[in-house]
Amino acid sequence: MSNQDIYVPQPATLLKKQPMTEYETFYEFKLDSGCELGHGPGQFLEISVPGIGEAPISISSSPTQAGIFQMVVRRVGNVTTALSKLGPGDKVGVRGPFGTKFPVDEVMKGKDILLVCGGIGLVPVRSAINYILDNRRDYGRLTILYGVKTPADRLFAEELAQWKATPEVTVLETVDRGDEAWDGHVGVITTLLPLVQINPAQTIAVICGPPVMYRFVLKELAKMAMEDESIFVSLERRMKCGVGKCGHCQMNDLYVCQKGPVFKYSEIKEVMEAI
């Protein structure tokens, strides 16, 4: 029996911070212990700011990037606002990594990958993208579909450009509403799907975005003859404790903090509260 307290965070130090959009900021941390975080793409952390509280935040860097971990956080609550006020050298508390991973070391291997991301859904998926690019030979074609509300909401703009320039990688972007400078695609994320050619039997799809997005994307993927077993979704819930106790993340009988956030679609198709 372990006497360790699952609720005690370990210290980490902020190394770098950079605003990405009006509301989202990029952060790079390292654990004070000097250890690796030991996460897989798709997992999340519980981040504490002393006095303010704790909030679940998904990890955005690939485990292939040693020594540090990165996050992109939208300012929506107390903890995320407090984070935005920190500077390099400041401390936070970290628990985790928690939850399931995108199956980058399992079924995704050897397959073509189709990633469908909306808004901050790109944040955890970026971890998988960089993991795939760092192990490029293990995977087939990589297609990234990314939709945001307006051009000003695009995250990782530089990396998007790099990914676009990488051979065997397709990046298609769309915005709900364009502006003068925007000459790209305009429309909801599903309008990008008819533009891609996939071999459904050879493809693994991943969906991550705002709650409303999933149903529509799933419908389109079904039309493209994608099997439910080949689709993975990453779902947001109120992950308060991260360790399967507090009950807040429950989606019918499933604790999303443990059985998720990444689910194989066929496994949650019948879970009423899932999508």
Partner: protein, 338 residues
Amino acid sequence: MSIKKLDQAALDTWVNKLIANQSVYGVQAKGERFAFGPLSKAEDLRLDYDVTILPPKKYFQPQREDLLEFNAKGEYTSVTETEPFILFGVHPYDVVAIAQMDTIFSADNYDVHYMTRRHNATIVACDVQNASANVFAGCMNTATVTKGFDLLLTKIGEFYLAEAKTPKGEKLLTDLPGGLEPGNLDLARREQVWKDNTGLLRKHKLKCNPQELPGLLEKSYYAPVWEAKAKLCFSCGSCNLVCPTCYCFDVQDDVNWDLQSGKRTRAWDGCLLKDFAAVAGGHNFRSSRTDRYRHRFYRKAKYVAEKLNQIACVGCGRCISACVPKIANPVEVFNELL
């Protein structure tokens, strides 16, 4: 392990002796109802109680408890309580509930806060002497218990039988002055109490076997009863809060006046409350009263039940009494689904 027979006077002397040695929490009158509280003398103990307003879970997972402390440097340390105590007079259905909570808090990720308190506790169970207005433990196989306690008291006529179940219980018995050895007749009378209680603690009658409930819920997700009842639901969480098998919690930080050091506390929460599944930024994943209302029954009789292989409702009837609009009765709902 031994069994002793004692009369009221011996019981009182014994309890007072226990109180002199360590903290004892026992059932006492609170107005016209009963509650567990710190016991200062044996005569306050009311083993004839029907049900307590709150279950004894409050001694393992207090309404609000400190989880961690943090200092000005942002370092967190765990806060755990260490004082041993005796919980005196726990009814069988509550014993079953505690055993379920033990599994929840020890399996998977070990919760040191709950478990430390749990290990510090000696549980003196007591068979029910008076049935409460809404108890249905008899239908849930929780009217009597054979494990989950350290010592069991059963009233037989003018006497009590006290049976130790664990070394901790045995140790309590060593403090018992002048206990008698029970005869076969006494043991037979105790058997009779158990048999009677199984029949008596059925103020509401479940029309199926509890084992059938997960299957029943499996096909009842869209039954009209959820919406019909939820219409009257205040989303006040009373049914959650008084339930011995509800354990969901919320966690918050508060700072001291230096604005740097402080505490992280956790407090009881309830899935019936409006914002239970709402995330920062606003989206509420269970925004309708009906969905929240249904979730509790599914947790009790399907989700947690399948995980523990035992229904997570012990039939204490507290939610029935606590619910102002009178919509929380699990038996009524399950019977309606049958």
